[in-house]
């Protein structure tokens, strides 16, 4: 399968893996994290971890995020991050 939906799915998969990997460093199992769950509410990443995730997101997907875009609506969930990426890259 290819096309926008496949790319979106790949992006979510990549983001999820990164979150799981980062959470593991804090000895937290994030494998059960749902795409729609609000990441700050779950506690799998702390604030510094979320910031680290944002920086990784910029580098991995080669986009620049305005500070004003760092909102719960844009980066609060895996779904939101993938949607932001879709808009940024017009996937």
């Amino acid at each position: 399968m290819s096309g926008p939906s496949a790319d979106l799915s790949d992006a979510k998969h990549t983001i999820r893996n990164r979150i799981i990997e980062m959470a593991e460093r804090r000895r937290i199992d994030a494998r059960g994290l749902k795409d729609s769950e609000i990441i700050p509410d779950t506690g799998v990443l702390d604030s510094a971890g979320i910031m680290e995730l944002v920086i990784w997101f910029e580098m991995t997907f080669a986009i620049t995020i305005e500070q004003s875009d760092l909102t719960l609506e844009n980066f609060g969930t895996i779904d939101a991050m993938a949607s932001y990426l879709q808009r940024a890259k017009s996937i």
Binding site: P40, E52, V54
Partner: protein, 375 residues
């Protein structure tokens, strides 16, 4: 009368030295200051100079042999054919045993030396011995207890062997964050136990209300520090010479760790910000620091500081003070009971432990964050 040249002490720990070379031979004329021999230990070498004019009569030890400190290295005479004493001239077998004269003792204190540092020319350590030693060697780097080190002066160089390695750019940045402390502050540390769960709930409510991506707990607590500093300006000071220097602005240093590098991101002029502005600016700086993109002005000029190791579940830590600050507040992880230690390192030259503790007590009280701050 022949004059002995004694084997000098190179350092306090070595009672024997190796005779490395002899630069004169019997019959040679020497004057004061002429190099006559060189001795060494595993750590250092030391030149031996003639302290009297005369002629070399004899060199006693073989080159390359180990020689006991204080024994006679060579004899000098007024004439080249003067006989060497065969009876025992009192030998100083241990320089440290040679009692200094009163004046010599004063000079030793002045230069930060001990009697065992200085080779003795006679039965007692004389002022001339000390003066000659300092003239030959220069004033030692060792800092006398009654003198403050100059800014930038190296204090306490390693005494053990090793090699130098260049620091990376990031490591140099971290070094600048902590390097100054050995030169200036007199750090003390206080801490208090408080109910961290109240703060955590307040931060969660604030995050929800403001729809923030990042938990604002540390930002809110750091901003509380700003409010306290605005009232108590003594917390926003340092010492210059013997005068307190009170900063005009409140620049809050906030530690950010990225990979293995520690940064001090600085929110400048925080006293003029609203709570929301402060939190947003702090988030910007945290992001820049974590991406190793802090500009120099964003990583310098802190006048007070805040740090946390809660993300690693550290329940107590004693932070260093950033350059020229008097107070760093240390936030730590709470325990299962919801309580935590709130600590502060302070510069005891300008603050008392009570003042630091009072600031902590005010920060710990979440109800003291008023509507103006939170909304």
């Amino acid at each position: 009368m022949p004059i002995p040249v004694y084997t000098p002490r190179v350092n306090n720990n070595d009672d024997v030295v190796r005779l490395l070379r002899v630069t004169v031979k019997p019959g040679d004329a020497v004057t004061v200051g002429d190099l006559v021999a060189e001795v060494e230990t595993e750590k250092a070498s030391f030149t031996v100079e003639a302290e009297r004019p005369g002629f070399v009569l004899a060199v006693l030890p073989e080159i390359g042999t180990m020689v006991e400190v204080g024994t006679i290295l060579m004899w000098l005479g007024a004439t080249p054919d003067e006989p060497i004493p065969t009876t025992a001239t009192p030998l100083i077998t241990n320089v440290a045993l040679a009692e200094p004269t009163v004046k010599a003792a004063q000079l030793l204190a002045k230069y930060g030396l001990t009697a065992s540092d200085v080779p003795v020319s006679g039965a007692r350590l004389s002022a001339k011995d000390v003066d000659d030693y300092v003239l030959r060697k220069g004033a030692p780097r060792q800092t006398p207890s009654n003198r403050l080190p100059d800014p930038g002066e190296v204090v306490g160089s390693p005494s053990e062997p090793g090699t130098f390695e260049e620091l990376s750019t990031n490591e140099r940045g971290m070094l600048r964050t902590v390097l100054w402390q050995r030169q200036q502050a007199v750090p003390g540390y206080v801490e208090l136990d408080y109910d961290a769960s109240v703060w955590e709930r307040a931060a969660a409510e604030y995050q929800k209300r403001e729809r923030l991506l990042l938990n604002p707990l540390l930002g809110l607590m750091a901003f509380r520090l700003v409010e306290i500093v605005k009232v108590n300006k003594r917390l926003n000071t340092t010492l210059v010479g013997e005068r307190r220097f009170v900063y005009e602005t409140i620049n809050v240093g906030f530690t950010v760790q990225s990979d293995t590098t520690l940064y001090l991101a600085v929110v400048r002029d925080a006293g003029k910000m609203t709570c929301r502005e402060f939190i947003e600016r702090l988030a910007q700086l945290q992001r820049s620091a974590m991406a190793h993109r802090l500009r120099p002005e964003e990583a310098s000029g802190a006048t007070v500081a805040f740090t946390s190791m809660a993300r690693w579940n550290v329940t107590r830590h004693i932070p260093v003070l950033p350059p020229n600050t008097a107070l760093t507040v240390a936030h730590a992880a709470s325990t299962s009971g919801g309580r935590a230690a709130l600590g502060a390192t302070y510069d005891h030259r300008v603050l008392t432990g009570f003042e630091a503790l009072s600031a902590l007590a005010e920060i710990s009280r979440v109800e003291s964050i008023d509507e103006r701050s939170v909304s």
